[in-house]
Symmetry: C2
Subunit: 303 residues, 2 copies
């Protein structure tokens, strides 16, 4: 079951060196989610072959331009290419007012439904839930209200051990119950334990997204144990004071956070315009948390 993240933009506020403002696509079993939507996101989607109308859920962390200025353009283009499906947007409450002002003056009547879900920057909340995926928003600490997002996969199905089940002549309709851990009782009253007839499903996976934020313990419980953590790492640690002042994080801090929250892998991003080459950012983080990777635009990362 595919669970991957495509990085569309890894730049901080001033895009430079062909890096773009923040946006990411999550592909979970061919269902696409978008996190943040910086300026140019619709062009980046097109560049990397993602049809925008496959996206039904968009999550916006906060209202700094580099995280949302591509939203009006994307939503308008979805309209122009004939979208009919509902679009769910999750983000800070005033985002709705901003969208509506654009539509008012461009005299645009979007031909599909936009369902707006205001996020809560004060506490963790479940904002989306389907059979196989739960998304939570949680508070980050930035200059303006901001939330991170965590994507948790549902429990993955166990597999039937055919060589054990078939000789017992268990009727096929019971297989799905066995997979759920429900024992089978045959007509003679014999109990066949599900645990003995199945292999447990693989562990459920989780992806956590933190951008933008200063380092702060408040959000550690929300990212605890994630398989993949994307954490902003705007600066090298020599700029730690500047990071604090601007409510951002250094690479070393991101690595320390990854370690403290026991995530399996760290993905860096939201690079300051002062860094043309990114090698030193990775090296710094790896001194504390070796399983770190640089997010590169156009690349898919396994969760």
């Amino acid at each position: 079951m595919r669970f991957e993240v495509l990085v569309l933009g890894n730049s901080s506020a001033t895009p430079i060196f062909e890096r773009h403002p923040t946006s990411q696509v999550i592909n979970y079993n061919e269902q696409l989610f978008l996190i943040d939507c910086g300026e140019g996101t619709q062009m980046q989607l097109s560049r990397y072959g993602i049809k925008s109308n496959r996206i039904d859920h968009i999550f916006i962390s906060h209202l700094h331009g580099d995280h949302y200025l591509g939203l009006v353009g994307l939503v308008s283009s979805m309209h122009l290419v004939g979208r009919k499906a509902d679009l769910h947007i999750y983000g800070p409450a005033p985002l709705q007012e901003i969208l509506e002002l654009h539509f008012k003056y461009s005299e645009t009547v979007i031909r599909y439904n936009i369902i707006f879900h205001p996020t809560n920057p004060e506490k963790e909340e479940v904002i989306f839930s389907s059979r196989m995926m739960t998304v939570k928003s949680f508070p980050l600490i930035h200059r303006i209200p901001c939330t991170g997002f965590r994507f948790d996969e549902g429990k993955r199905s166990a597999s039937i051990l055919a060589e054990k089940v078939e000789p017992l002549n268990i009727p096929k309709p019971y297989y799905s119950l066995l997979k759920k851990g429900i024992d089978y009782v045959d007509p003679q009253g014999n109990v066949h334990q599900a645990a003995a007839l199945t292999v447990p499903g693989p562990a459920s996976r989780s992806y956590a997204y933190c951008s933008d934020t200063v380092r702060h313990p408040i959000y550690l419980p929300s990212i605890q144990g994630a398989d993949l953590l994307y954490h902003e790492s705007t600066f090298l640690d020599e700029m730690r004071d500047r990071a604090k002042e601007t409510f951002h994080t250094t690479c070393l801090e991101a690595a320390e956070i990854a370690k403290e929250s026991q995530v399996k892998k760290l993905l860096l991003g939201h690079y300051s315009a002062r860094y043309k080459t990114l090698g030193p950012l990775l090296e710094e983080a790896q001194t504390v948390f070796p399983n770190t990777e640089l997010s590169i635009e156009g690349k898919w990362y396994l969760v």
Copy 2:
């Protein structure tokens, strides 16, 4: 004296095939003006080596997203890179409200002055004037209020005919008066006619910009005789009905407009997403107006 136009985006509303929404830079004698500012303009400026802080005047035609959604990002980036100079923005009145709403929710206090000049979509007006350049806005006919822009160079200086002036021992300070056509009277009372001692300056040049608009006679006087006319040409003429319906122009119509208004050269642009290759658009226009060129992103066009 340089007078050129750099096309940053030539796409209509849905950007595709690596084409970008509308934006252009005018370089007049190293003073830069920006016309329209579609999503991604700041990245396009960076791609083509234009420092955004060299731009002091931005002209926005109308409030469809593909003509202005890059403005908030550009203005914010100018702030982030330490701009101090005033920035003049000319555009539809509600643009100011849109900008202010973004700054309110992103809690941004721009550190330089933005001077907003609302344009008048009802009649032609001079909106900018310097010693060597006058800019007018004029009404176009689109689904929402929209203006074109015309850039007229001031009178260009005559040149002194050194071989005629030097034998007369005319004092150097009088040269600039001769260039302006003022005759020199020597101490003996002899009149030396400026016309005989100078070569007239080259003709003044003009650039007209029309995007977006349906074909309409109302704006022909405003573009009359321009050296270079950029005119939107969203569709091939087989889509003439669709062009009317959406208040756009076909390539053939753009060529007819160029002919009727006696411009010297026509530049096509604002291409619909339905055209991957642009050759047929050019061919169609050239059947009526041979001196037509396709606008290509990243290319400078002489006025």
